[in-house]
């Protein structure tokens, strides 16, 4: 760069762009991405917050109602059910992280045909969530599903998991865990490839084995993988939409709803079209996500500043 500048210095005047090249060029390259991010992500966020102050059916005129949608939300049983289920999802979905780690450790060995086993374990993440939901719906069917078969084998009458308000959410989370574990597993498998062999060796010399080896030597090196696994699992739990839409549609009587599906139901489904109310739910969901995301961004920032 310096060489180029020197050769140009004979010219009487540099153009503005040439003077500010270093500062401007990154922005030019970023511009398309920023433009689309603003149009398709940032603007809709504010748009839906704005809509949440209206009563609107999506067709006619919107009526300004101020905070009424939020006041109504505070008094809505379905909303609390959905919120509770969201928390359940967040907590139980975290099981995917240790489970994924366990599977990854198990698969991280050199055996003939290991790649085939790895891809088989990864398979549930590749197939569509819709298919996973459908398969588990059949599993859970008390009349012809595998669960029903097992129960009848022991002479018990099988539970209708997807029709029982106390079991239904656990049933769906369990189905959702299957592909999520595969996802975490693949993250850990790539992480395990990068675990330094010399450190393992050193640990072994110092007498570490089994749990202590895992905890003090391997896991710290897997920290980046763990971080990503937790982030994608949190986001996955909050977006748990497809499973619910396929397996129960929020039923029975709304007891397996989560905020994302409840929002869809009130704003866009057959009996909904309350855009304002749906947007209010979306706003609440957004705020919850914001807490998590800012926390993780803050952590990431801290880590980078600390040089780790």
């Amino acid at each position: 760069m310096a060489v180029a500048d020197a050769s140009l210095s004979t010219r009487p005047e540099k153009s503005w762009y040439q003077k500010n090249k270093l500062a401007v060029t990154p922005w030019i390259f970023l511009a398309p991405a920023i433009l689309f991010f603003v149009v398709y992500v940032i603007a809709p966020i504010f748009q839906s917050i704005w809509i949440s102050f209206f009563e609107w059916d999506g067709l006619g005129d919107a009526e300004w109602v101020g905070m009424r949608n939020y006041v109504e939300l505070m008094d809505d049983d379905r909303f609390y059910t959905s919120l509770k289920n969201n928390v359940l999802w967040l907590v139980l979905f975290m099981l995917a992280v240790p489970a994924g780690l366990a599977v990854a450790l198990f698969l991280n060995q050199t055996v003939m045909g290991m790649r085939v086993y790895k891809s088989l374990f990864f398979f549930p993440f590749v197939i569509s969530q819709v298919v996973v939901g459908l398969i588990f719906t059949w599993f859970y069917n008390p009349n012809f599903g595998i669960v029903g078969e097992i129960w009848s084998f022991f002479g018990a009458s099988p539970p209708a998991i997807l029709a029982d308000e106390d079991l239904v959410t656990y049933g769906i989370i369990f189905a959702g865990l299957w592909p999520q574990i595969a996802y975490c597993m693949i993250l850990y498998l790539t992480g395990l490839n990068n675990v330094a062999a010399d450190q393992i060796e050193a640990g072994r010399l110092d007498g570490a084995k089994g749990w202590s080896m895992l905890w003090y030597v391997v896991l710290p090196q897997l920290k980046p993988a763990t971080f990503i696994a937790i982030v994608v699992t949190v986001i996955g739990a909050l977006r748990s939409f497809d499973m619910i839409a396929i397996m129960t549609q929020g039923g029975p009587y709304g007891s397996s709803n989560v905020l994302a599906y409840y929002m869809y139901e009130t704003a866009l489904s057959e009996y909904g079209y309350r855009m304002g109310y749906g947007s209010a739910i979306a706003t609440v969901l957004f705020l919850i996500m914001l807490v998590y995301i800012s926390f993780f961004l803050w952590r990431m920032y801290q880590d980078e500043r600390g040089g780790r």
Binding site: P142, N143, Y253, Y273
Partner: protein
């Protein structure tokens, strides 16, 4: 404004008489049932229409029913077809209110539909105008396994006590009296509607769906009490919340359940499940409160002209065409339902015959809970019905919640 459009339309119609070929263009129709029977009926009717109007180029889009329900909101405002199928009653209300459907009162007047389509006129009317033309409807009632009833010596119940007695007999013989699949909720609304129509009558049904009486009203409670008499002894099949209405046919077909509160569209499915014509039969939902005039559920399907249609003139021609007795007779014979035109002839299928006897003598025709009540209320109500069927002890809480929602929806 309305007068002016009408005048303009009349002028258009007049000129078109002289130069039909020149003016006629494409006629785009969106239809919402790709199942073999309904599709056949629709396509036959379109073929006949084409034959009579060779100059009109009919373009047909057949969509899946659920997809149509979502798509209609987009295509009505963005890229309107000339005709679309949709449902009357409260289901058409949002589009009528938003000015997305064309007022076709003129057509009703010209063609004398007030006479021939009288049965469905009230539900096609909003703000004193008619917004579409219905082409079919069907009865609801109790479909039952005649062979099982005959085996156990049960007669078709005529009263509530007889129904309870029949159910008790079935239960004693290890047959669940009623099958039902409430996963998609509306099937439970069918049972509720009938219990309510028989306990309290047509006016209470209308008052309830119009938001004029509360769900905690003693009359509505009485309806739930009757329902409780079926739920408590286990007269409904278990696990119904996991099943769609089609799934619920399996126990009916293999003899685990003997009755099904359903619409006539289900007959095809029974036959596909392996039941023969002799094994199944139909009876009207029995009387509960003596003296309450018998009203029936008879949902209708209709065609509408979007206000953004480009070829409204030919669209009106098509609507007039589908209301004709000969067209409705033919169409409904194909799809196994009832024609609305009172001059049309009814198929000699036994279910259609019984259905015709049922609805033509009814004192009032209800559309269905989710068509008579506004969408939001319907959703909450049907969830309440499902919850009641699983946890009947929560009745009070459910009714209070419904009251709360009712208050807001109808404000």
């Amino acid at each position: 404004m309305f007068q002016r459009t009408r005048a303009a339309l009349a002028a258009l119609a007049a000129t078109s008489l002289l130069a039909t070929t020149a003016l006629a263009g494409d006629l785009v129709i969106n239809f919402d049932d790709p199942n073999p029977g309904p599709k056949q009926g629709f396509e036959d009717a379109v073929a006949k229409f084409k034959e009579e109007n060779p100059d009109i180029n009919v373009i047909v889009n057949i969509n899946d029913r659920e997809a149509h329900k979502t798509a209609i909101r987009n295509f009505l405002s963005a890229d309107a077809p000339d005709i679309t199928s949709w449902y009357p009653g409260n289901r058409m209300a949002p589009f009528v209110d938003a000015g997305l459907f064309e007022d076709v009162s003129d057509l009703w007047e010209e063609e004398g539909f007030g006479e021939t389509l009288a049965a469905i006129k009230p539900t096609m009317t909003r703000d004193g105008k008619q917004w579409g033309v219905p082409y079919t409807y069907y009865q609801w009632g109790i479909y039952y396994r005649k062979d099982i009833f005959d085996d156990l010596g049960i007669e078709e119940p005529k009263t509530w006590d007889e129904l309870l007695a029949a159910s008790a007999t079935l239960k004693e013989n290890d047959i669940t009296p009623f099958t039902i699949g409430t996963k998609f909720l509306w099937t439970a609304a069918g049972v509720f509607d009938y219990l309510n129509l028989r306990t309290n009558g047509y006016d209470v049904h209308n008052a309830l769906t119009a938001g004029e009486i509360k769900y905690t009203d003693p009359r509505i409670r009485a309806t739930f009490e009757k329902w409780q008499q079926l739920i408590e002894p286990g007269y409904f099949i278990e696990n119904h919340a996991t099943m769609s209405w089609q799934d619920a046919i399996a126990p009916f077909a293999n003899g685990e359940a003997a009755m099904y509160v359903m619409g006539n569209f289900s007959v095809d499915a029974y036959k596909n499940a392996g039941l023969t014509e002799d094994q199944i039969d139909f009876f009207q939902f029995p009387e509960i409160t003596p003296g309450v005039p018998r009203a029936e559920e008879a949902p209708a399907d209709a065609f509408f002209i979007p206000s953004g249609a480009k070829n409204k003139e030919d669209a009106r021609k098509f609507l007039a065409f589908i209301a004709r007795p000969d067209v409705q007779s033919e169409w409904n014979k194909t799809i196994g339902q009832l024609p609305i035109n009172s001059e049309a002839s009814v198929s000699d299928d036994k279910f259609i015959q019984e259905g015709f006897a049922t609805v033509s003598t009814a004192s009032g025709l209800a559309q269905f809970y989710d068509r008579d009540a506004p969408a939001e209320m319907a959703k909450a109500g049907m969830e309440g019905f499902q919850e009641f069927m699983i946890k009947p002890e929560r009745l009070d809480r459910i009714l209070e919640r419904l009251d709360k929602i009712q208050e807001r929806v109808y404000k």
